[in-house]
Structures are given as structure tokens and as C-alpha cells.
């Protein structure tokens, strides 16, 4: 076992490799070295995933990947560890301070894709939890990660997700994979999905 305490890196590593999240006791600070290592790890993962992306995949965005992993890490810790969270919410879950471009959306998704599951867990425990709307807001800003999560889709802005050929196709693929009818029936999405299916809608997704 590694002697050094590296809860953040461990959590993200577990999340990415076996899709488990680890909950630690009162570990809400992250060292700079750990951040660097997490970025390295996520970069490797992104390069691997990129091979399976259609068209030309956007480049890796370190800031977005790190931001996404932190959101998920803190959300994980807050599943159990709830000491005066109200005051911490804005520091733990800051907005992504930069313009959201396709490469940021894909890089952040490396970890953010697990957020919907975490949200379900949090909802089960306390449906009125104050961090729920905060996290849902993130999924609204990063719609690619939110696919499959049931939430209010009014005024959801998909212009970024649909601005890049690679991301658009990934978005559609995930909607099909999760059989997300709410998003699949959106006015901007449905014609694209039907174009994907061509003659074989009945085979691929008859219920849409």
C-alpha cells in the first residue's frame, strides 16, 4: 500500500477503473501534487477513450478534467460526510469558470458521467438536499454528462454539444445507449437520431 495519503487520486482511479467511489473521513483538501497526478491519469484515460470517438476528437482540456473530477470527488464525500456543508457548497462546487467548449465538455465528462448516479444516491437519502440543485445545475451546463438523468429539460442549451461533429455523435450515441426518451424526443435531437438509424429504427430503438 502507498504510505502517502492520496484520497483524491485513489478515488478518481477507482472510479475510472472499476467504477467504485471511495468515501473518506474529512478529507476535503487536495494537494497540488495530487492534482497533477490526477490530470496525468485522466489524460491517459482520455487518450484511450479518444480511439473510440467518431470523427476527429477534440484535444484534452486539463482544467475541465480536473474541475469535473473535483466535483465528483466532493459530491462523493458529501454522501456521508455532512458537517456544516451549507457554508462549503460554493467553495466545493464552483462554477467552471471558463467558456464551455466541446473539448472541455468531453474532458470534464471523464468523471462527470458518474454524477447522475451519485445524484440518485443523494436523492434516495434526502430528496430536499440543498446540494442537489447545485449539482443538477452542473449537469445542465454539461449536458453530455447528464444524459440518462431525469431532470427539467426546459431551456437546456445543447448548442455547444451540437457544435462539434465528434461530440454530437457521442451525444447521440449516449442517448441511444441509455435509451433516454426525454432527451431523445427533444426537437433538436430527434431528427438527428432518426438520421442515425436510417431504415433500421425498428431494430435499434423502436419505442422512440
Amino acid at each position: 500500500m502507498n504510505e502517502k495519503k492520496i484520497p483524491f487520486l485513489d478515488t478518481i482511479y477507482h472510479l475510472r477503473s472499476i467504477e467504485h467511489a471511495i468515501i473518506y473521513d474529512k478529507k476535503l483538501d487536495i494537494s497540488k501534487e495530487e492534482e497533477k497526478e490526477v490530470i496525468e491519469l485522466l489524460k491517459d484515460e482520455y487518450e484511450k477513450e479518444k480511439l473510440n470517438y467518431p470523427f476527429q476528437a477534440p484535444v484534452f482540456d486539463e482544467v475541465a478534467a480536473l474541475w469535473g473530477s473535483k466535483i465528483v470527488y466532493f459530491a462523493t464525500q458529501l454522501v456521508l460526510n455532512r458537517e456544516d456543508t451549507a457554508s462549503k457548497i460554493s467553495t466545493l462546487f464552483p462554477d467552471f469558470g471558463q467558456p464551455i467548449i466541446p473539448s472541455a465538455m468531453l474532458s470534464a465528462d471523464l468523471c462527470l458521467r458518474f454524477l447522475p448516479q451519485l445524484l440518485l444516491q443523494l436523492q434516495l437519502m434526502d430528496a430536499d438536499d440543498m446540494i442537489l440543485p447545485v449539482l443538477e445545475q452542473k449537469l445542465k451546463q454539461f449536458p453530455y454528462s447528464g444524459i440518462g438523468y431525469e431532470m427539467n429539460l426546459e431551456n437546456i442549451d445543447l448548442s455547444v454539444a451540437l457544435s462539434d461533429a465528434c461530440l454530437t455523435q457521442l451525444f447521440l450515441d449516449r442517448v441511444v445507449e441509455k435509451k433516454d426518451k426525454n432527451r431523445g424526443n427533444l426537437e433538436v435531437i430527434k431528427p438527428l437520431l432518426l438520421a442515425n438509424f436510417g431504415d433500421y429504427k425498428t431494430i435499434f430503438w423502436n419505442e422512440l
Binding site: P54, Q169, L172
Partner: protein, 233 residues
């Protein structure tokens, strides 16, 4: 409702349609009546080739010659219908104790076939798909397997990708070019057993009567990463 009439002495002419087992047949004096034809069967060349048949259409108990406006006669009452199989029994020839043809051989051939089959395999040149495949949605790829054969790619599965190339249909792990089939289909289980005794290969038959044996385990699920890593090596 279509009826076919034929003279009793020509009963043997019906042999080519004996296997249409939906047909019913009845004897009436010197005539034979056959009924229960489907729309396809009544226009089938196999039926129309039979000499001396008269095709009727039945309307209000009157028999009209096909496409004629005046009825020819009434349908006889109290006909005793039976399946066509029963009306045309098969006589097996006597066993020939002195048959010397046993060492004779036949050639296995792929011949043109009228039977329509769904394509399951597709072979195309690598350069035809190289760039196209990266633009495809996940759903079009996930049901397919693929393998590289020299400078060509073989895709397996349905629905296939809309690319030009030679398509093949599947029968028990054997691929035949679409529009073609084995000349003697009855020999298929024997041929299959001879060529692929362990049942672990895909046999790809070609129009030139050659075949290619592809190990099933070498056919991999089609993903963009597997394609990119293999092709751009």
C-alpha cells in the same frame, strides 16, 4: 378464389406442384379440380408450364376462365377435397441390387439461386471504409463483427453498413454469395461436416467454387478503436 381444372389422364403432370402442400384436390368424373392457390402460386411459372390446365376464378358459385367476363360453368357440387399429397402418391422404384454407380463422384458447385436471402456478410476494400467508418453512429457498429482478409474487410452481422461490396448470406456458419446457393442443398450438412469438422470456422464460399475457412474466434466486434489500431498500424 382460383381453381384449376385438368383431365384425369393428365394427373401425373401435377408432379411439379405436388410440394405446394396448401393445395386441395378433388376428382369429378373425368376431371380434376384443384383449389386454394395463393396469389403468387397462380401466377407461378411452374404452374403455368403444366400443359392442358384451365385456370378458373370462382365468383358466386360460377367458374370464370381467368380474366374472362362470361362464366364457363357452375362449380360441381359435393366435391370431395383431399390434400394434393394424398392424391399424388409417390412410387419408389424397386431397389436395384445390381447398381454399380456407387463410386461415382459429383462436383460441389455454387449455382445461381432464385431464393431471396438476407445478407449477413459484406466484403469490401479497406480503402472504401477507412474514412467512412469514423463518421458512423455507435448503433450501426455495435451489432457487427469484422476481420481483415488481405486488403479487404469482411463485416458480419445485421444490419450491414451501406457500402458497396460483395454481400453474402448465412447458413449455419457458412457464407454464400447473395443470389447463389449450393447446387445440391441436400448435401449441405455433409459438406459442412467435411470442411469444418470442429465447427469452429466460418466458411466463405466464392463464386469460383473455392472457399475460405475463417476461424470464428478471429472475428472481432467492430469498434472504432479496434479499427483504428489495426488499420493505422
Amino acid at each position: 378464389m382460383f381453381y384449376v381444372e385438368l383431365h384425369k389422364s393428365h394427373l401425373d403432370y401435377l408432379a411439379p406442384i405436388r410440394h405446394w402442400n396448401n393445395l386441395k384436390l378433388a376428382f369429378e368424373g373425368e376431371a380434376i379440380f384443384i383449389k386454394d392457390f395463393s396469389m403468387e402460386q397462380i401466377n407461378d411459372v411452374v404452374l403455368l408450364q403444366i400443359p392442358h390446365i384451365i385456370v378458373y376464378e370462382l365468383k358466386e358459385q360460377l367458374l370464370f376462365r381467368k380474366d374472362k367476363l362470361v362464366p364457363t360453368k357452375k362449380i360441381p357440387s359435393a366435391l370431395l377435397w383431399m390434400p394434393i399429397l394424398n392424391a399424388l402418391p409417390i412410387d419408389l422404384p424397386n431397389y436395384n441390387m445390381n447398381y454399380f454407380g456407387i463410386p461415382d463422384k459429383i462436383d460441389i458447385q455454387i449455382v445461381k439461386s432464385e431464393v431471396e436471402q438476407k445478407p449477413y456478410g459484406l466484403i469490401t476494400k479497406l480503402e472504401n471504409v477507412k474514412e467512412y467508418i469514423e463518421t458512423l453512429p455507435q448503433v450501426r457498429l455495435q451489432n457487427l463483427k469484422w476481420i481483415i482478409i488481405e486488403d479487404s474487410v469482411l463485416f458480419l452481422g445485421t444490419p450491414l453498413l451501406p457500402i458497396k461490396g460483395q454481400t453474402y448470406w448465412l447458413k449455419d456458419n457458412c457464407l454464400f454469395p447473395t443470389g447463389y446457393a449450393l447446387e445440391f442443398d441436400i448435401l449441405f450438412p455433409i459438406i459442412k461436416k467435411q470442411l469444418d469438422p470442429n465447427n469452429d470456422s466460418m466458411l466463405l464460399f466464392q463464386n469460383n467454387n473455392s472457399f475460405l475457412s475463417i476461424p470464428l474466434s478471429e472475428c472481432k466486434p467492430l469498434t472504432l478503436s479496434s479499427f483504428r489500431l489495426t488499420v493505422n498500424e
